[in-house]
Amino acid sequence: MSAPLEGVRVVELGAYTTGPLCARYLSNLGAEIIKVEPLKGESMRTFAYKVGDVSYIFHVHNVNKKSVPVDTNTKDGKAVLFDLLRTADVLIENFAYGSMQKWGLDYETIRAVNPALIYCSLSGFGHTGPDRHLRAFDTVIQGMAGVMAMTGTREGPPIKIGISAADNMGSAAGAMAITAALHHKCRTGRGQHINISMHDIQGWLTSECWALLDTEAGPQRNGNRHFAVAPQNIFAAADGLIAVEIETQKQLDALCDMLGVGQIALEDSKAHEASLEAALQEWVAARSVDTAVEDCLACKVPAGRVQGMDDVAENPFTWEREILVSLQHPESGEVKILGSPFKSNRSPGVVSSAAPTVGQHTRDVLGGLLGYSDERIDALVADKVIVDEASSV
């Protein structure tokens, strides 16, 4: 058993979600992550819902990582960063467009330091195009990419997707692009600059409904229904909500049998949506969630509970799949955290250590990896270029 990216070294210059989570995904695939933080620690450490002094969500995004705080605005700090980058395969940054250039850390400068480095920029609108300078967070991106316009009911206002879709999908796209670039690097020895735009990705997410652009009504938000196939909706059982989703003719036939109504061709299913939904609602209402789901599945009708965070967290399947796992943190004790979505016969995905404290690995990395002497590390600490946990306590 071995994780596929073992031996790949990533330097993360990130803040909040997109960069840190992208690096986290790569760590799940086996990469080593060196998180180069500001001396006071990365911004998300201060977010609400804290375990001890550190935001819980920081823990979620930063398992498996090594913390090396460096003031990269100083000449000596930049030298430390460049030494790290000479040993690295990948740099991930998610600052506003132009920031890295302002700090003297743009791609051209870094390429001169290490031409084989994969330099991945994750930003709201990418590094090209008229809006590249705009500052944006998740909800702004969802709004400007048509995602909100397509979520909710026609009668109600646009709604964002509850979770931070733009942040998280930017991370996943970055992870995919970086692994492709690693493959290219392995073959050619060349690095490259990747510029991922969260807005591109959220726009791409809406592409299913582009099929409707030339229809009379155009794309419109549709509640929980699908634009072409029915029934797909949420139904109220006696003690909660279930989703029923018909996608194929076979499943529609099974549903019609289950409800005791005549067969309908899948292509005509939207025309029968109202009557099918009414019959199904009546059928579901007479059952508990568990019974309704069980009975649907027994009839080969796809169905599932609408699970809240509590249901997801308490469902033994979630733990069995190790998509939630429990880690011990040296100071905070047990932390329940996302596992790895990357499962294969070669590796279950790596979730090995809790998020680091500020400067936890400074001495290990600068001494062990870069060969800095203790005296040199002490001097950098004294000059406030780096923070070493041992010396800061």
Binding site: P4, T179, A180, E267, R321
Partner: protein, 332 residues
């Protein structure tokens, strides 16, 4: 590889003039098409780097390809099987598509407005996120194969891909025991953050930190409130007392401005803000167009451009979706 009657999405309404749906065309640019049977599949796998399946691909077509088969006969193949609940655990093999993945994966229960029935994410979020994670899993396995010579059998569940999106909700649940419900367009951990009414519509405002809040107070001419203990720091702004206060300040400030005016002012003062675009507006959006995110072939269906902007290996869309069996001449 398609069944003899073609992928079912070819027939999904609305249909283009040639009978193939724009939905199919959008998802299948850059591909070749061949009708699948057991012999052709086995012959092609022998020459392939990657095998992708979803729940409907192999079993439904009478093809039995076990993991033992793959490991014994195609040891360097990277196989990735997408399914609703994965291939291990109590729910393995259960049916479901996008809606059920979102429902079971916690997306539906947290999308919508408080007190109303929850909603699915309109776009197919679970599938797209699973596709990206699958891409990373496959490409990292290919990278590993260059050295080890070994392939991998990847088990990518839509459920896992959805639960992976819940990270903002884990802290509240595990620390307070409270189950987060839909919060409209607010953010659980930062404020002010919402869509706010203007004279002629909405503007989205996302204040992520104290600095941006202080910039916003200066813009509103309320610099004297920067040190106000009721909302000086984010912990107070997200509290039950603080959130309505900061939301009230924002609403009052925006009431006499149009959306365009509001966005211009907010951006000028470094406060992240933006409009709500519908999809036709997105199609004309200068940024989206400059990034070549909408592509067409000979006036037929629109397909998304590549989200992978890379200096050495830029993603590209080079050919329209294939007709069924168009590449039957592919030599297995």
């Amino acid at each position: 590889m398609e069944p003899p009657e073609g992928d079912r999405l070819r027939r999904q309404p609305p249909n283009a003039a040639d009978g193939t749906s724009p939905t199919f065309q959008n998802l299948n640019a850059n591909k070749e098409s061949i009708v699948v049977d057991d012999a052709a599949l086995r012959a092609l796998i022998g020459k392939a780097d990657i095998l992708l399946t979803d729940q409907t691909t192999l079993g439904d077509r009478g093809i039995e390809l076990t993991d033992d088969d793959v490991e014994a006969r195609y040891p360097s193949l990277v196989a990735c099987h997408f399914s609703p609940f994965g291939r291990s655990g109590a729910l393995a093999g259960r049916p479901g598509g996008e809606l059920i993945a979102q429902a079971m994966g916690g997306i539906v229960a947290t999308t919508g407005h408080p007190g109303e029935l929850p909603h699915r994410a309109g776009p197919p979020l679970a599938s797209h996120n699973a596709a990206l994670l699958g891409g990373a899993a496959i490409l990292s396995a290919l990278y590993d194969k260059e050295e080890s010579g070994k392939g991998a059998i990847i088990d990518l569940a839509l459920y896992d891909a959805s639960v992976s999106l819940l990270y903002t909700f884990l802290p509240a649940y595990f620390l307070s025991g409270k189950t987060p419900g839909p919060m409209g367009n607010k953010h659980m951990m930062v404020a002010p953050w919402d869509n706010y009414p203007t004279k002629d519509g909405w503007v989205i405002v996302c204040v992520a930190n104290d600095r941006q809040w202080h910039d916003f107070l200066r813009l509103m001419g309320k610099a004297d409130l920067i040190d106000d203990p009721r909302f000086a720091e984010n912990d107070e702004r997200v509290s039950e007392i603080g959130r309505p206060l900061v939301d009230g300040l924002v609403i009052d400030y925006l009431a006499d401005k149009t959306t365009d005016e509001a966005i211009a002012l907010l951006r000028e003062h470094n406060v992240p803000a933006g409009p709500i675009y519908d999809v036709p507006t997105l199609m004309e959006n200068p940024q989206f167009r400059a990034r070549e995110m909408v592509q067409t072939f000979g006036g037929s269906a629109r397909t998304a451009g590549s989200i992978f902007k890379m200096s050495e290996t830029p993603g590209r869309v080079h050919s329209a979706a294939p007709a069924l069996g168009r590449h039957a001449e592919i030599e297995p």
